[in-house]
Subunit: 230 residues, 2 copies
DNA sequence: ATGGAGAATACTGTATGCAATCATCCCTCG
DNA sequence: CGAGGGATGATTGCATACAGTATTCTCCAT
């Protein structure tokens, strides 16, 4: 059977690796792309069978998914896909703005020419995806760029915390990736320039405005959708 | 055998409750109070026996301990108590400063008179502990106060993220709690006043300076210890 | 004596089985 | 006809057993 109708079915995970990690990635993927819908009850046995593993790796993956905010784990009831609210999303974006701004400051202080070159590569990847109009690729490139800036800040705590926030932002960001893309990537370019100049304060300020623009754009988009659906 | 000499031995966990939670709390306690030393290899079977449970709850607790930053979990090798570095501590404090500052701003916007009254209660608890010279109680009161400010900000994402950073700061904070206490708690009082006045900008600025003072104090203390031990 | 190969050991990773708990549905009683 | 209580099925929580892998110790060769 090449594909069954139910969207949650998946082929077995590649064996030679920590299964819990593979399961974790598979489940996040399924949540992001909508195979697992918000509020849905995740039954361990079902997931285990569809992924071709036992319940144990599933349980461990679910625990990590909870701390990452993907699922809510209610004792003696099991896991439920997290239902995001617009309020929570605004909070996520505001915290992200804070952390990324701090991160940009540090990146500008520590970046080497080699690091900057890598940033320009990622920027190019993003522009290509933007030209192709591939929302999925745009979001991915965006995440890759921001992640790399985070690492350049040489702050392990930040690098640990930001992904927790950022991946969830990615989820919400998908629908607005294309319309927001053009401005976003030109802002990226200016941020990279500031980092290349080792101008920490300018990089910080540009990142602050960049994340603020994204937040504003998202809120407007939400409002528009709300009106449209009314 | 009522007690074995090894410091890691503990009585069984109270049964009627999620065991993984109880194990998690027991292990954090042991790490904080030094029963489990930094770098130490945590063997699942040993912990399981000493806590009177099977390996399963231990494993789940260790996973959570990893995401909280208490242990490092190396694949196929097991769990090791995290060894903090002064560099990492500085990063933790800087991130904490960022988050707490943002939190203070939100708290001043949303606080009700009842909330403010509660803050003054916590402040009083801290002053009492300070007068008694009980470092443990000081740290606890400090954490309680900051936690409550976080909740007042009405930002669920912040409230979720800050404890992850804050608990680890608490760990490092213990040795400097007493000498830092006097200034810290008078700064707290001014922050509470700003929150009571609903002056978000002032609260934010006061919190920024407060966390900055704490960071500076910590760094000086570390330097002093380094000189002393040299 | 020292370096390396191989085997023994110990530990983690995974699977399976059992008991406790929660949700649901049906039956009975008011 | 509606509400409450109990039985049944499903699902989680925990424990045990097995397999794979990294580490360490020993023994042999150089």
């Amino acid at each position: 059977m090449p594909e069954t109708p139910t969207a949650t079915v998946r082929g077995p995970i590649r064996r030679p690796a920590p299964l819990r990690q593979a399961v974790y990635e598979a489940l996040t993927e399924m949540i992001i792309n909508g195979s697992l819908k918000p509020g849905q009850h995740l039954v361990e046995a079902e997931l285990a069978e569809s992924l071709g593993v036992s319940r144990q790796p599933i349980r461990e993956a679910l625990q990590r998914l909870q701390t990452a905010g993907w699922v809510d784990l209610r004792p003696a009831q099991g896991a439920f896909v997290h239902s995001p609210t617009t309020e929570e999303c605004a909070q996520l974006l505001s915290v992200r703005a804070l952390l990324e701004t701090h991160s940009a400051h540090g990146a500008a202080q520590h970046a080497t020419p080699h690091d900057v070159a890598r940033l320009w590569e990622l920027q190019q990847t993003g522009l290509t995806a933007l030209a192709a109009g591939d929302a999925r690729a745009i979001v991915e490139a965006n995440a890759a760029l921001h992640t790399h800036i985070t690492h350049l800040s040489r702050n392990a705590v930040l690098a640990e915390l930001i992904p927790q926030v950022d991946r969830r932002v990615r989820w919400y960001y998908m629908p607005i990736a294309k319309p927001r893309g053009k401005d976003a990537w030109s802002e990226h370019a200016r941020i990279i320039e500031a980092i290349a100049d080792r101008d920490a304060d300018r990089a910080e300020e540009l990142m602050r405005r960049h994340t603020q623009n994204t937040t504003d754009f998202y809120c407007k988009q939400i409002a528009a959708v709300a009106v449209h659906s009314a």
